[in-house]
């Protein structure tokens, strides 16, 4: 870089360091209501839009699949939720004419169903959603038929797709005991042979009860009216005692874990995933916030590793990393796609070198301000539609236990110092805490 450019860049950074992002604070009025049966409702009105996002967060995911041979059940159940009830045998017929954006997704910690519609159709959505979460038909034929798309989804994501394949292998090596070990979609053997319709029914009895559910509504509606509707349609949903299902604890990792795989053809570039065990999702935890910031420091476009490996050396096609957000201790992960012919070992060495540097040197104030700005601005960019706002509120509630944590973001990240970053790095980025998997092309 020419000296003039270095000077200009330095001056820019110094100037910008004086201008951290404040923006307006996140300005959301969220009301929380809890019904007698334990159902939680979070509402946030926005009359500047025509639409509303109605999301049901079920506090159950693949993490809760503790029985051997029954992996993938949460996801299968999510699929089955679109198969109809006695009252509405065809979910699409029930709501399709309202033009909904509707889908669902299952993760490690929660399963989320969403229906986005024009505000005037919200009551119908509530009625249908209340019906299917309680009265889902779960019979052998529909169960067997729906296993087909589940298996094809798995094939598409974890068998045919090299990135999906590698991630699936990574979690099995990184987690030995905890249920984050198995893929959300389940193991092939369980989908093919082990899971029976009775398992689905048992799953429903165990987890699909009001205490496990949080409804998040954002958009153009009137809160008292929506609460009335929800009471009307969900009020007699029977309260169940909370299930005490112990999730196996993951023991501390004591040595590095390494594995290399060979892909079935030579049409891929080498791939790498590196992971370090870290804290659970907790905005009040210094370590969690620090690791989130480290993700930015390393992997923004101008971040240390992106700049070095992608921009300058062009050893990788892309590189990305972050602290995962999980209910139980998650991982700081790095995923990268190397350029053809580049050495996995050399790329690893550069990555490890940067982690090591974080443990030995404090990050600069400029880097930290940049990272903080990124975290805070990301929140604002998500406020552009009811769906994103509802997702944000719901995930903070489910993962963090309290949606109000959203309003702590600015203060919490502002409180993270270079010292705290270094301490978090020292705790986390130890070789003995590391899992590394790689995938190389055939032959």
């Amino acid at each position: 870089m020419k000296s003039r450019q270095v000077l200009v860049l330095t001056l820019c950074l110094l100037l910008l360091a004086a201008f951290p992002v404040h923006a307006a604070s996140i300005d959301l009025e969220i009301q929380k209501t809890v019904l007698d049966n334990g159902l939680t409702i979070l509402t946030c009105e926005d009359h500047s839009v025509r639409t509303v996002s109605y999301q049901t967060f079920m506090n159950v995911g693949s993490r809760d699949e503790v029985n051997p041979g029954k992996t993938g059940l949460a996801h299968i159940f999510e699929h089955m939720m679109f198969r109809g009830t006695e009252k509405y045998p065809d979910f699409d017929e029930a709501l399709g004419h309202l033009g909904p954006e509707t889908n669902a997704y299952t993760g490690t910690d929660a399963t989320v169903y969403f229906v986005n519609v024009k505000g005037e159709y919200l009551e119908k959505v509530i009625e249908v959603e209340a019906d299917r979460v309680r009265n889902l038909i779960f019979n052998e034929q529909t169960f067997r038929t729906e296993l087909g798309p589940v298996k094809e989804e798995r094939r598409m994501g974890d068998v045919e797709d090299p990135d999906g394949f590698l991630w699936c292998e990574f979690t099995q090596i990184a987690y030995l005991k905890h249920t984050y070990h198995h893929p959300v979609i389940g193991f092939e053997e369980d989908l093919e042979k082990n899971i029976q319709v009775e398992d689905g029914l048992e799953f429903k009895r165990t987890f699909y009860s009001p205490g496990y559910a949080t409804i998040v509504v954002v958009g153009n509606f009137d809160t008292p009216q929506v609460i009335d509707w929800i009471k009307k349609y969900y009020g007699d949903w029977e309260k169940q005692p909370p299930q005490d299902i112990p999730i196996p604890l993951e023991p501390p990792q004591t040595e590095e874990r390494l594995k290399e795989y060979v892909w079935k053809d030579n049409l891929i570039n080498p791939k790498l995933i590196i992971g370090y065990h870290g804290p659970k999702f907790d905005i009040m935890s210094d370590d969690f916030c620090a690791l989130n910031l480290i993700g930015r420091i390393l992997f923004l476009k101008s971040g240390r590793l992106t700049k070095k490996l992608d921009t300058d050396l062009q050893m990788v096609d892309y590189i990305y990393g972050r602290m995962q957000s999980n209910k139980d201790p998650g991982m700081f992960t790095v995923s990268t796609n190397l350029k053809k012919g580049e050495s996995v070992q050399e790329v690893k060495d550069i990555i490890f070198g940067e982690f090591d540097r974080l443990t030995k040197e404090k990050v600069s104030e400029e880097e930290l301000t940049k990272a903080r700005n990124s975290v805070k601005a990301s929140m604002f960019y998500r406020l552009n539609r009811p769906f994103s706002v509802a997702s944000l509120i719901g995930s903070y509630h489910v993962l963090g236990g309290d949606h109000n944590l959203l309003f702590q973001i600015e203060d919490r990240y502002d409180s993270i110092t270079p010292e705290i970053i270094q301490q978090a790095a020292e705790k986390t980025f130890k070789p003995t805490n590391r899992t590394v998997v790689s995938l190389v092309p055939k032959g």
């Binding site: 067997r144 093919e192 960019y381």
Partner: protein
Amino acid sequence: MRSNWLKMLLPACLICLVSLSLFCGRAGELEVVQVHKSGIPVVYFQVMIKAGSAYDPPGKEGLAYFTAQLLERGTESFSRDEIDELLDFISARLDIEVNKEVIVISGTTLKENLDKFYEVFSEIILKPTFPEGQIGKSRLDQLDAIEGVRESDRSLVREGFDNLIHRGHPYGHLVCGNESSVNSLTRQDALEFYHKHFLQNNILLGLAGDFDDQLVQRLREDVSALNVGQVPEIEGEIQPIAGRKVLLIEKERRAQTQFRIGHPFDLTRHSPDYIPMLVANAHLGKHRESIGRLYKTVRMDRGLCYGAYSYIEHFEQFGWGKLASPNCPRKAQYFSMWTYPKSVNAKFAMKLCLKEMTDLATNGIPEDKLKFMKSFEKNQFPFQIETPQRQLAHMMAEQYYGTYGFVDHFESDVERVTKEKVDRAAHMYLSPDNVAIVALVSDGEEFIKEILSDQTTLEYPSQADPTMLREEDDQIKAFDLKLTEDDFEIVKASELFK
């Protein structure tokens, strides 16, 4: 047989006529499409230039992409590093997309950083320097983009299909080019391409979010510094497909067979048949919607695949959602269907898709479904324009296509659709006997044998009972694919895009 050759000429004429009126605002003033939304302190920029890959000179395929990538790699005041650093510091976002017809440069910034962002954003468009030190790097990244298409089964089939049906036409190559053409690209090529296309009468400007008139004026004035010039046109005719043609792309050990079926057609947004066809397509298989026939018959009834869909325009998914990106306009479109069953069921699935297409073209839409689909389209439209950026992009698409009022009148236009209009449009525009089929297979020769054999395998998911659908399955199995050995072409994935 419909006069497809005449229908192919029509879009070429339309393109000429429409392009004269595009991007011409009031006399002496550049048009800036605006969507004001206060409340969230964010400003969105979109700049669209008619400079997509269809304008790549022969032998220089990928030049538009090459030029576009270089824009953010150095300007008069900022080096690449400085651009990256500044944008990250203020947490602004910059995206440069290249499609067949346009380059779209999008930016997002918090309002408080608007001035700093604008400095960089405007230079990227108006004062790029195409630094010599970035040329080799850009080529390498572009070659990787080609590798990326080969790696992804979905991209391979989609691009393979797009290229096949546009063979010989400027659309008929990857946006990022092929290996030999990319290796030939030079800084001078990029400079010439830039100066040829980045003209003030070839650029469409858009702003959305929380901004004021000062920004509008500033943008207008700054872009007025670009030259005025001859707006290049896309030349070439798209050849209709005669009969059914199959391209098999070989890739080792595939457990699924991704395939696309379809053909070019002359349906554009200008046509009074566009909205009726939109309704017809919702009935057949709108992307990732579960209301369509393809989804129902392939997935819900038989569990053969995770999804099956149809399209009446080129479709690029917008992020992780279901909606199309409105930033890839094309004036020559095509119909297609896409699914990816387990390989053993590929032949059955192809027959099923073609049968559904034939049913729609022949019999039209059932009356009860018409009302349902119209209601669906009308009521879902607000999501197309739900965010300021999407609303802006749709309004810019109106400018691009010349379909003024498309957004404002969409719901009422759908309301006016009748069964007669849908049936007529489906019959006119869908040609199931003249399609290209592109499929990803492990062994091309084996697949051909299977397709041409008398047998059609159907394997239901484990222990699912096929009894109720047996009669229907037999009808589908009996569907004639009308293929002979001469209709097939086999190519290895590794040999594509060389």
